[in-house]
């Protein structure tokens, strides 16, 4: 019995040590250990708790965004069903590293955040929930700066309420 307990603990400790070593070594290992590398891309827990867009953007990027007409959002004028609202974004900005979607009136403002590695195009489409009529904000990180676009989407039936 004690043997089993011991080896399980030992394995946990070893796994922990492996993870720490991987974080320490950083990027050069990414190509060799894709699964662990993916787990290393930390999930932005705090940003997904923020109750307003300024806090969410700050938690995610640590800076503020300026509006840009180079960020083009495609969203419906009216969404009949707030549970499924198709939103897509494209931009002509260069060196895009991240694209995020926020809904001002949702209980959790940040909906999705996408990491765009070099070689991946800065165009993303997804489907999001909207609690009620609200501004939808797209933030694009390009060349270390943040750019945003915003559009009001009217929601007939909310997708978050009970």
């Amino acid at each position: 019995m004690t043997d089993v307990g011991f080896s399980a603990t030992r394995r946990l400790i070893l796994q922990g040590a492996g993870a720490v070593a991987l974080v320490g070594l950083g990027n050069p290992l990414f190509g060799l250990t894709p699964v662990l590398a993916a787990a290393n891309d930390k999930y932005p827990e705090e940003a997904f708790k923020a109750k307003n867009e300024a806090d969410a953007i700050k938690a995610l990027y640590g800076k503020t965004a300026e509006p840009s007409d180079k960020v083009k959002m495609d969203a419906p004028e009216i969404a009949e069903n707030g549970a499924v609202v198709p939103i897509s974004v494209m931009t002509t900005l260069a060196d895009v590293t991240s694209i995020s979607f926020l809904v001002s009136e949702n209980p959790v403002v940040l909906v999705a955040s996408y990491k765009i590695p070099a070689g991946t195009l800065p165009n993303v489409a997804n489907r999001i929930k909207m609690a009620r009529t609200s501004n939808v904000i797209v933030v694009v990180e390009a060349g270390g700066k943040l750019y945003s676009a915003s559009k009001e989407v009217k929601v007939t039936v909310g997708g978050c309420g009970g």
Binding site: A38, F48, V103, P117, L121, A125
Partner: protein, 103 residues
């Protein structure tokens, strides 16, 4: 069990367009059931796409992404017949992984 992940990856020569549809409840933790009890949060937190050993796209998701989530993106390169690896992990620690051939 059948995979929860359906992927279509199409190469146009220069770029590969990827569309993914995943079966997942994506419960936000804010919705009540018929008895008025809160349905606990249960949603995918991270979805990753790898091609040729490299990450080509990572999605960090909250409970605000629609049920049975859909996402579309594209990356430069990608050869027909090559494999794309897709994995997700949710807030309860469940995961699923699949591979899809680029068409």
């Amino acid at each position: 069990m059948a995979s929860t992940i359906r992927v279509r990856a199409t190469s146009s020569g220069e770029t590969t367009e990827v569309q993914a549809l995943i079966q997942h409840p994506m419960d936000s933790g804010f919705v009540k059931d018929a008895k008025g009890e809160i349905i606990p949060a249960h949603f995918i937190q991270q979805l990753t796409f790898e091609y040729d050993g490299k990450n080509v796209f990572t999605a960090d998701w909250g409970g605000g992404v629609s049920k049975d989530p859909y996402v579309k993106f594209a990356f430069k390169g990608g050869k027909k017949g090559d494999e794309l690896k897709i994995s997700w992990v949710d807030n309860k620690g469940a995961t699923d992984t699949t591979t899809a051939k680029i068409q």
